[in-house]
């Protein structure tokens, strides 16, 4: 389809707004990572549930920007977006099932 030789190439000028958006996304990722560090050092380790909830939330925010903006998925057709996102349900299910299983193993080994 695209094998034909092009003899002279026209370089298009850069779209300032587009490049700005890339750096804004990069800035968001850097700020969220910095906030993760802040949480890691300010919220005491004893408050494990709160820490985990914040970390998971921030990770999802970062994943959204990487996949949506950098990988451009936000701007693809709806069918493509859903065919990538819907299978992730299996991962969520697997996470819940396996961590629950791990806690049951712990109970069997150390409590009973």
């Amino acid at each position: 389809m695209h094998t034909e030789e092009t003899t002279h190439v026209q370089v298009q000028p850069a779209d300032k707004a587009k490049i700005r958006k890339i750096w804004v996304t990069a800035g968001i990722l850097a700020v969220v990572t910095a906030l993760e560090f802040l949480v890691a050092f300010t919220i005491p380790l004893e408050m494990a549930t709160l820490r985990i909830a914040i970390f998971v939330g921030m990770t999802i925010v970062k994943a959204f920007y990487i996949v949506g903006e950098f990988m451009h998925l936000k701007y693809e057709t709806k069918v493509l977006i859903w065919s990538i996102l819907v299978p992730m349900i299996f991962v969520v299910w697997m996470l819940v099932a396996f961590v629950y299983e791990g806690m049951s193993i712990f109970d069997d080994k150390y409590l009973n």
Binding site: H2, T3, E4, E5, T6, V9, Q10, V11, Q12, P13, A14, K18, I19, I22, W23, T25, A26, L29, A30, T33, E36, F37, A40, F41, P44, L45, E46, R51, I52, F55, V56, M58, T59, K62, A63, I66, V67, E69, F70, M71, E76, T77, V79, L80, I84, P87, M88, F90, V91, M94, L95, F98, V99, E101, G102, M103, I105, F106, K109, Y110
Partner: protein, 256 residues
């Protein structure tokens, strides 16, 4: 007669019969997406198994300040990863991993800039940003090599651990880590460190190789002659995915 001609001109074809891209993405990009989906399952399996094994081990209970390494409970990650190159003996929890995360995010940014330049047929900028991406990838690999070396060699004093050998408890000082024993915690802890960061590092390494091939082709004008820089986009998808996986490894292995 005219009606028959009309049906021949416009055959009743669906968008899946060929000649166009039904999802408005090229075949190569689509297949990269589905490969990445399957790769996401592999990484999820590794991280979720980490969750399973960790929740099957006792957690450290007690004041965080009084934490010591023991094979009786799972270690607190930030107590394990607290070393930085050239700053021997200084306690800097998670600082080096933070630097590594920053390097990988930056190389992801330079990759988008390379893709953006490719859209504009701007060969000079594609070359420049691809080179920065490769440098970022190699720096990350170098950091990981140091991290592994430090993890394997361990701390100066090691950890005294008790083992049950032939029905008798014996004490032994353990330095560093291997797949059967480590000074930081239960054997599984080091095994997961090696497997998860190792599998991710392998992805980074193959990403750097792919980036180099694309860089080489851009420099020799292959894509300019072809008339488009779609290969930069496809390899870019892979590179962003590697960054995405690191975001999850960072959270679930180092922070939680």
């Amino acid at each position: 007669m005219s009606t028959t001609a009309h049906t021949i001109d416009q055959p009743n074809r669906s968008i899946w019969d060929g000649g166009q891209s039904p999802l408005k993405a090229s075949y190569g990009k689509l297949m990269m997406w589905f490969f990445l989906l399957s790769d996401a399952f592999t990484f999820s399996a590794l991280l979720i198994t980490y969750g399973l094994v960790r929740s099957a081990h006792p957690a450290y209970e007690g004041a965080a300040d009084a934490f010591t390494f023991s094979n009786n409970y799972w270690p607190i990650p930030e107590k394990v990863f607290e070393a930085v190159p050239f700053l021997h003996g200084v306690n800097l929890p998670l600082v080096f991993v933070g630097i590594m995360t920053f390097i990988l995010i930056m190389s992801s940014v330079t990759m988008v800039l390379a893709v953006e330049a490719g859209h504009r047929m701007d060969r000079k900028n594609v070359e420049k940003w691809m080179l920065w991406t490769i440098i970022g990838g190699l720096t990350f690999l170098g950091c990981q090599a140091w991290e592994w070396a430090h993890f394997i060699h361990g701390t100066d004093s090691g950890t005294v651990m008790k083992f049950l050998v032939n029905g008798e408890w014996i004490e032994k000082t353990i330095f560093g880590a291997n797949l059967s024993v480590n000074q930081y915690g239960p054997p599984d802890f080091a095994a997961f460190f090696f497997f998860i960061t190792g599998f991710h590092g392998t992805h980074v390494l193959s990403g750097v190789v792919l980036n180099f091939i694309v860089y080489y082709n851009a420099v020799t004008g292959v894509y300019e002659r072809r008339g488009h820089y779609e290969m930069v986009e496809k390899v870019g998808l892979y590179w962003h995915f590697v960054d995405l996986v690191w975001v999850f490894v960072f959270t679930f292995f180092y922070l939680v």
